[in-house]
C-alpha cells in the first residue's frame, strides 16, 4: 500500500505526460466499451424489434428474403407484391396459431421534413392486433368497417403530422382525404412511424387490388417451421422467412462492421500499450539514480518491480475509469452516428453499457497495465544499484 502511494506520487512528477498517457488509455477503453456496448445493445434492440413484429414467420413475394424482412422491419418502399389468394390458401393450415396479411406502400410527400420524404402506409386487418396484443390506443378506436376511409396513426407519426382522432389526413399524390379513427400508444418499434388503414381500403386507394406485401404468421409449434416451409416450397411466387434467421443474418452483417471497428479498437489498445510502455520506460530512465538509491537502502528486485508495476496499473486503471466515463457520456453521440451509418438500425438504445461491461473494461485496463508494465518494471528491477547511482555522474 505504501509503495502504491509512492507510485501515485511519482505519476504527479510529470503531470502532462501522465495525463496524456492516461488519455491514450482512456480513448482505447472508451472505443472498446462503446463497441462492446453497441454489440450488446444492437442485439437487444434487434431482438426487441423482431419480437415486437409479433410473428415468427414472414411470407413475402419471391425475391431477396433478407431485403424483404429488413424492409418490413424498418419500413420503406420497394417491396414486391404477391396475390391475396396465397393468404386464403395458407390460412387453412392447422399448424398456424395466428396470421395477419399486410400491404405496405410508401408515398412521397414533398412537404415532409422540409425537403420531402416518404410516408409509410400499411394496410392491416383486425388480426394484426392479435399478433401484437401489447398495442394500445392512445386515443380513438379501430376502423369503423373494413372498407372505411380511415387511418390509425402510430405515436410518432401522429406527433409529426400533428393529428388527433377525428382529424383529416391527406395522402399526397393520390389526392385522398382520410379520417383519423385512432392513434396508437408508443410501441418502441417502426410501427410508431406508420400510418395504418384497413387492408381493403389500402388495396383500393393504392390501386393494388388483391395484392399483399407480406403475411405474418405465428405457428403453434416453432419446431413445425421446417415442415411448414417445405409445404410452401411449391408456391412459386412466395418465400417463407423465419425471423430467427433474419436476426442471425442481420447480426452477421453487423458483425462484419464490428470486425472493422474491433480492429480499430485493437489498434487503439496496441497504441495505448506502447504509450504506457514509453512513458514508464522514460520515467524509469529519468529515475535511474533514484532507483539505485532505493536498492542501496534495501529495496529488493521485487520491491522495485512492484513500484513500477503499480505506476502502470495506476495509469491504466485511471485510463479505464476515464474511458468508461467518456463511453457513458458519448453513448448518445455514438448511437446517433451508428443510426446514420447503418442501413438498418433497430429502435431503442443501440449502445447498452452495463455495470458488468464497465467492470470488465476496468479489469481489462488493469490487465493492460500489468502487461505494459512488465518490461519497464523488469528493466528497473534489473538495474545494479552501484551502476544506477553512478549513472548521473
Amino acid at each position: 500500500m505504501k509503495l502504491f502511494i509512492i507510485a501515485f506520487k511519482n505519476l504527479k512528477r510529470k503531470k502532462t505526460r501522465s495525463v496524456l498517457t492516461i488519455g491514450g488509455v482512456a480513448i482505447a477503453v472508451a472505443v472498446l466499451v462503446s463497441l462492446l456496448g453497441f454489440n450488446a445493445g444492437y442485439q437487444i434492440a434487434l431482438n426487441n424489434d423482431v419480437d415486437k413484429m409479433g410473428y415468427q414467420v414472414l411470407v413475402t413475394a419471391k425475391g431477396c428474403p433478407y431485403e424483404a424482412a429488413t424492409l418490413m422491419l424498418k419500413g420503406g418502399g420497394g417491396l414486391r407484391f404477391m396475390e391475396e389468394e396465397v393468404f386464403d390458401r395458407i390460412v387453412q393450415d392447422e399448424r398456424i396459431d395466428k396470421i395477419t396479411p399486410q400491404l405496405i406502400n410508401t408515398v412521397f410527400d414533398a412537404d415532409k421534413d422540409g425537403g420531402g420524404g416518404f410516408t409509410m402506409f400499411m394496410g392491416i386487418e383486425k388480426s394484426y392486433l392479435t399478433l401484437k396484443p401489447w398495442t394500445e390506443f392512445k386515443e380513438g378506436e379501430w376502423f369503423s368497417d373494413e372498407n372505411a376511409d380511415e387511418v390509425i396513426i402510430g405515436y410518432e407519426a401522429a406527433e409529426l403530422e400533428q393529428r388527433r382522432a377525428g382529424d383529416k389526413i391527406f395522402i399526397p399524390g393520390i389526392d385522398k382525404v382520410l379520417t383519423v379513427s385512432g392513434i396508437f400508444e408508443r410501441t418502441g418499434t417502426q410501427d410508431d412511424g406508420v400510418i395504418m388503414l384497413p387492408l381493403k381500403t389500402a388495396q383500393r386507394i393504392f390501386d393494388l387490388e388483391k395484392k399483399l406485401t407480406g403475411i405474418g404468421i405465428k405457428l403453434k409449434d416453432m419446431t413445425e417451421l421446417p415442415a411448414f416451409e417445405e409445404d410452401l416450397y411449391d408456391e412459386a411466387s412466395i418465400q417463407v422467412i423465419s425471423m430467427a434467421q433474419v436476426k442471425g443474418t442481420i447480426m452477421n452483417l453487423i458483425s462484419t462492421a464490428q470486425i472493422l471497428v474491433t480492429s480499430v479498437a485493437f489498434i487503439a489498445i496496441i497504441v495505448a500499450i506502447f504509450g504506457v510502455v514509453n512513458t514508464i520506460l522514460m520515467s524509469v530512465f529519468e529515475r535511474t539514480q533514484e532507483i539505485g538509491v532505493m536498492k542501496a537502502i534495501g529495496a529488493s528486485k521485487l520491491d522495485v518491480f512492484s513500484l513500477i508495476w503499480y505506476e502502470t496499473i495506476l495509469i491504466c486503471g485511471l485510463g479505464g475509469i476515464v474511458g468508461s466515463i467518456i463511453a457513458i457520456l458519448a453513448g448518445n453521440s455514438v448511437e446517433f452516428f451508428v443510426k446514420k451509418l447503418l442501413p438498418y438500425a433497430p429502435e431503442g438504445n443501440l449502445v447498452h453499457i452495463t455495470s458488468g461491461l464497465l467492470l470488465l473494461s476496468l479489469v481489462g485496463a488493469i490487465v493492460l497495465g500489468l502487461v505494459s508494465g512488465i518490461y519497464p518494471a523488469y528493466r528497473a528491477s534489473s538495474m545494479r544499484p552501484i551502476e544506477a547511482i553512478r549513472s548521473g555522474e
Binding site: 509512492i6 511519482n10 512528477r13 538509491v293 536498492k295 542501496a296 537502502i297 534495501g298 529488493s300
Partner: protein, 232 residues
C-alpha cells in the same frame, strides 16, 4: 569492543574491454563496533569502492570481508538487499532524497522495504528521528523546500530508520558549505555515540577527518597508514 568489519587481503578489480583497474590491492583492516572511522585519500584512491563493498553494493574480487557477521565473499548477490536493508545505512554526497516525498516520507522509506511487517509505527519513528536531527519544523516539507544542509540531515535521518549497525557516508559534506559540513559531521558523530553505531565516512576534508576515532589513509588502492586521532 567487538569487531564489526574485518577485511583480509580484500581486493577489487574492475575489468573493461580496454583495461583492468585494480581499485583495492589486498588491503587488511578491522573496524570495531561503535567506532567512527574516516577513510581519506585522493580521488581514485578506492574510498568509494571500499564503502560499496562494505555496503554490499558491489562484489568482492578477492580476499575476505566480514560485515556484521556476514562473510560477504560467500554470500550470493540475491541476499545482498536483505543485508543492506537491515544492517547498513547509506548517506550520499548528492543526498538522493525522493523529490515527490516529504521529509517524513523520505525518512520512512527504508522501512517500506523491510519484510515481516516492517516497523510498527514507522511514521512516528521517522518523525522522532527527524526531531533528533533538528528538523522537527520541516516534517511535511518537500525536498525542493529544504536547504542543502537540511536535505543532508534528511538523508542522515533516513539512514537511521531501520536501526542499522553500520552507517556508510560517502563524501556526505562534499556539497555543503563549511558550517553545514561541520554540522553534518557532528550529527554523524553524535548518532554514532548515542546509538553505538559504527560510522565510516569517506572524505577529502582533513579538518573533519581528524574529528574521527581513526583515519584509514588510502592511496592507489593500498592502505598508506591507519591513524589514531587525538580527538578520540
Amino acid at each position: 569492543m567487538s569487531t564489526i568489519i574485518t577485511a583480509e587481503k580484500l581486493k577489487k578489480v574492475y575489468t573493461t574491454e580496454a583495461e583492468t583497474i585494480v581499485a583495492l590491492k589486498e588491503i587488511d583492516f578491522t573496524v570495531a563496533e561503535g567506532e567512527f572511522v574516516c577513510i581519506m585519500g585522493p580521488s581514485g584512491a578506492g574510498k568509494t569502492t571500499l564503502l560499496n563493498l562494505i555496503g554490499c553494493l558491489d562484489s568482492i574480487s578477492g580476499g575476505a570481508l566480514d560485515v556484521s557477521g556476514y562473510k560477504l565473499a560467500e554470500i550470493k548477490e540475491r541476499r545482498m538487499p536483505q543485508i543492506r536493508r537491515t544492517h547498513v545505512g547509506f548517506v550520499f554526497q548528492e543526498f538522493f532524497i525522493i523529490p515527490t516525498l516529504t521529509a517524513t516520507e523520505n525518512v520512512e522509506l527504508p522501512s517500506f522495504f523491510l519484510k515481516d511487517g516492517g516497523i510498527k509505527n514507522s511514521r512516528e519513528k521517522a518523525i522522532s528521528i527527524l526531531k533528533q536531527v533538528g528538523l522537527e519544523h520541516r516534517l511535511n516539507h518537500l525536498p525542493g523546500e529544504l536547504s542543502g544542509g537540511e536535505m543532508q540531515r534528511v538523508a542522515v535521518a533516513r539512514s537511521l530508520m531501520n536501526s542499522p549497525r553500520i552507517i556508510l557516508a560517502d563524501e556526505p559534506t562534499g556539497n555543503l558549505d563549511t558550517k553545514n559540513a561541520q554540522n553534518i559531521f557532528s550529527l554523524l558523530r553524535e548518532v554514532s555515540k548515542d546509538n553505538n553505531m559504527t560510522v565510516l565516512v569517506a572524505t577529502h576534508n582533513v579538518r573533519l577527518g581528524h574529528q574521527a576515532d581513526r583515519i584509514i589513509h588510502l592511496h592507489d588502492g593500498i592502505i598508506d597508514k591507519i591513524e589514531q586521532c587525538e580527538a578520540a
